[in-house]
Symmetry: C2
Subunit: 416 residues, 2 copies
Amino acid sequence: MINRTRLLQKIEELGQIGQDPAGGLTRTTFTPPELEARNWLIQQLETINVDVHIDPAANIWGRTEGTRKGAPSIVFGSHIDTVPNGGKYDGALGVLIALEILTSLRERGVKTMHPLELISFSGEEPNPFRLSTFGSRALTGKLKKEQIQSVTDSSGNVLTERLEAAGGSYEQFNETQRNPLDFAHYLEVHIEQGKRLLNQGIPVGVVRGITGIYRERITVQGQANHAGTTMMGSDRQDALTAASQLVLKLEQITTESPIAELVATVGELHVYPNAANIVPGEVSFTMEIRGETEEQIASVRTQMETEFASVERQRDVVVTRDVILDQPGVPMDEMVMKTMETVSTKLGHKTLILGSMAGHDAAHMAGVTSSGMLFVPSLEGKSHCPEEESRMDDIEIVANVLYETILTLDSKGNDE
Amino acid sequence: MINRTRLLQKIEELGQIGQDPAGGLTRTTFTPPELEARNWLIQQLETINVDVHIDPAANIWGRTEGTRKGAPSIVFGSHIDTVPNGGKYDGALGVLIALEILTSLRERGVKTMHPLELISFSGEEPNPFRLSTFGSRALTGKLKKEQIQSVTDSSGNVLTERLEAAGGSYEQFNETQRNPLDFAHYLEVHIEQGKRLLNQGIPVGVVRGITGIYRERITVQGQANHAGTTMMGSDRQDALTAASQLVLKLEQITTESPIAELVATVGELHVYPNAANIVPGEVSFTMEIRGETEEQIASVRTQMETEFASVERQRDVVVTRDVILDQPGVPMDEMVMKTMETVSTKLGHKTLILGSMAGHDAAHMAGVTSSGMLFVPSLEGKSHCPEEESRMDDIEIVANVLYETILTLDSKGNDE
């Protein structure tokens, strides 16, 4: 079992690093506050005498050897970078629980058959270099040297320079990738970032899969015209009223769907020429659909296609569409899920099986090893903001479920 | 009667000045291409031997004396500045018809009782100094020295320097204002910028009044949230779907109104934070309503107030509103309108009495003297774009209606 007081103290300590005068924490990947957090974590790992290693993608590893020779590792962790003005739980909680588990196990002198490896992934969050899940993609061979070669942010900062300042290496970047046979499992605790656990009063979320994300950039081409002299009705080809109809239809389709974990959002929208006295001639916007299966996403797309055609006909506008992201859903490992449920029940806690509506490093890890995630309830469902919070009672429960899950999976030795 | 060939030639000549590589004409007020157009106009006026005068607001005047001592002037004209990538008719046509009328009258040796004054107003169009109808406001005492003192555009250009380069004077700016007793009438020809004349096949528009313009900046405050983990329905306080509902309601109210010349537009809209994966937390937009009377505008406002309240309730958002413009409608002079109609009928042309849905210098002139406007049909209703065009047949007809209107008003001598 873990030490709740110590875990709380570490949450508070790491939560001091990167405080933003504008509120919350800003630990954007590879910036000075994030480097400070990295150094703090490295020091914590050194204090408990695990083998610390920084790989070429600047992922931070803390390893303890197993008793069985050549056994693959049980890897667990998350990330410590944050969005701008984010909170102290998203990502950090998964790393700190991993740290607490390693600390407890060593304190108790518990030996595992498998090596245990804590990982703190680089750059999980959207960042100025436009490369989220940076570390997990590098580790699983999806992000290569060529892709990071000439990347800069909008201020001209060079990614490879920042990477090296964090202890990574551009030259050896491709060596970040590890042989899948090195891994027995990947396990991650994360805050839910939604209200499902909270609403049902359940402390432990066992993640069934990570949502698929589908995005289109949609352009509605109408005709810019004088806002005074162009009469209402058929004289107008108003791109914004046309886009508004599409925005509302997308909301309606997903709200009326019986599948709760099928959501859609227009988060970004631009109007041209965007002047009070001109009927909008063009509107471009993103349409994002998230769902666990391709079929669910396709059903929304099909219904929207009918609406696109109808808006084009009714409003004399032209709708063009570009797919900008089509990331399929990733299921978690059935056996790992089952283990998490069983452990949780044994410890006396209810579990809720639920989909992860956000992307996570586990989505990439699931491609190379049997993976699982546990969710901690988020107060008010808030995340990516200073108000992001989880109750210490829930955190302790989930940390202990992970602790027991690791030991159970270790004893099963199902990796042969 | 006017000389159609000569008028066409002048339209073509002035239409060469300020051609923009990106299409159409860009003669923004007080920029080098507009100064070139000014010089061209001054030269034309000098060629026909009228008294040329540039006032402190850089309005260009061309005057011929009347036969009756002390009689007030019949003033007529428009403006030669354009919007970026505009056309060669908006504004310029009114000035060129005025020039052609003066030329024809002098050619024929026609003497008028009243002085005739052509005016080409400075800066009628929206411009980088955010001062449209610059010249007519200065002439009617609505724009004063203090208001232009420290105005710059976004590139740091100083308005008063540009004004002086165009022949105006900052020191004497307030002397632009003239005694209303100097004026008998103000008359202006302008393109309609709409399709009403075209749709009814009528060549002469007699303007009944200039529309009132009412604008609010509306802010919808919702809650920015994760586009994946925030379920559809009551978990979301999406400012953009709320705004979309308002945009569509505004369109519906004005489209369903039996009053054709009551129009409303959301031309400008901004989304915050405006990212594909974040449920919009705030949307601000402009709501513009144009109508001839305050009552018409108020009726739309009242219906929208019901919708604001209902959206706030249904969607758990907060709507705040600021009035940013409340410019009442301005009626044209009944006697001048009647004269225009009678003249047109005598010349064998149908007329349509219609409201001007755009603002014009005549709106300010109507505050100080009996004023009237004639509209020329716009092909496809287009204006403020390179495709802006009017048929030469229609232009000739309206130019002759103005010619005869001036002579009729002159002979009436209704100014005593």
